[in-house]
Symmetry: C2
């Protein structure tokens, strides 16, 4: 499994991915799922990948090999807009599908590869896209300022509570790591190191890039603070007003099943 997260904020973009891949529980490995492509001062792209590693590695390779060509249909460095860049990557995905799709079908395996593409090209604002296995894609907006890939559910509650476009880059990165903490605790198929990239709007270069290992001092401190804080909030929460003792027997009850 995988967990990837891309956030679009007024101040810029934040990206994070885990590094765990598995083909069954007996084949677990570490692979990078966050890729940066930039022309400093001109454009920055961050690509997050999930799904079949053979597909996504091939797509990343196609992106890389085409970067410095002047083929506007294949080079994201030639793209005039982020939408155009998403279209280029979608095209690579469909090229792989057109060649490999029938073999996946023959082996009853899903052709499964999804990606988050974010970044900024000079002349545009920062933009964030979610590209599906089918090759079509959607763009993040103010109401839903983030996209997730992979094991999305455990880490969603904190995003829903905290994340708005007005949050600072620093708070968004903190929120991302809390979201990863919840996911890593719940699912052993998501694991550190976590790759993190922060992009400040109009910077046209990556502002900060971190590889956060399990024993990273900040991540450890954040996890401890969060876990202890949750337990404190829980213990301070009001107790239920309902009786939990049976000293006085309850009156005889109509079985609930008969109340239907």
């Amino acid at each position: 499994m995988t967990y990837c997260l891309g956030m679009m904020l007024e101040e810029g973009l934040v990206f994070a991915s885990d590094s765990r891949t598995n083909a069954g529980v007996d084949s677990v490995a570490t692979f990078r799922k966050l890729f940066v492509f930039d022309q400093q001062g001109e454009r920055v792209f961050v690509l997050l990948t999930a799904g079949n590693l053979a597909i996504t590695q091939e797509i990343v390779g196609m992106v890389e090999r085409s970067l410095y060509t002047d083929d506007v249909e294949r080079s994201i460095f030639q793209a005039e807009t982020m939408f155009h860049a998403a279209r280029v990557i979608s095209g690579f995905l469909r090229t792989v599908f057109n060649r490999d799709g029938e073999y996946f079908r023959a082996h009853a395996t899903d052709f499964n590869a999804s990606m988050i593409l974010g970044g900024q090209i000079k002349g545009e604002r920062p933009r964030l896209f979610l590209i599906y296995s089918t090759g079509n894609f959607i763009e993040a907006g103010e109401e839903t300022p983030y996209f997730q890939l992979g094991e999305t559910k455990y880490g969603k509650p904190i995003l829903e509570r905290v994340l708005t476009p007005h949050v600072s880059l620093s708070d968004a990165a903190k929120c991302a790591l809390v979201s990863f903490d919840s996911t890593i605790r719940a699912n052993i198929s998501v694991a550190p190191p976590i790759d993190l990239a922060i992009y400040r709007r109009d910077g046209f270069c990556i502002t900060s890039r971190q590889r956060i290992e399990e024993d990273d001092p900040y991540f450890k401190a954040l996890r401890r603070h969060w876990g202890e804080g949750l337990k404190r909030v829980f213990s301070e929460a009001p107790d239920p007003p309902w009786r939990t003792d049976t000293e006085r027997p309850l009156p005889a009850q109509v079985p609930l099943a008969m109340q239907r």
Copy 2:
């Protein structure tokens, strides 16, 4: 979708379920998914159901109709152990499967019905079982003192952090409602009212039974406390040590993609 939760604690058992059913987003309704069967002073059963409502309603009906028969293979009031009672309910499930399974296959629909059965029969400790669609079942133990059905992921992090067999019934009920709050916020197919049942060990009758509506004063206070508490813990968490500004340009970078 559905969210059901059964907890096994030293002090007893706690059960909770939502009441939302849907067959597609355009067919949403409210149905009870928590059922109590008790002979006061002798035995108490709580059954939580998830999956195809036609299947689970039929099973509940079969349980009810057999309660006061002397058929030891069909009446959970005749069962000598909780294991035996789980076997009875598994038998009803398989009876329905044997009759309906081929029609589900013909319509390419999953035969999907899972249940949590908990309770206590005089002479035994309280026990908690998870019954799968296949009719086989597992029992909760000290390491995993809870079972979930349906939309399980959003509400799992709080369980993993707080729930142990040593938690009081009151705290377990509180924990269940926080878990429901996280799930209801994230998934519109899970919704109040929440049915809650608390059973204190060796009481042999339900200690407390509540139907918690959206505007229940305690649930509202708990949700507000929890939401505000999480935001406070988040805002007090240490800030990341990484730069999030671009006043000084970063040195030129080797593209991450090339470091693979």
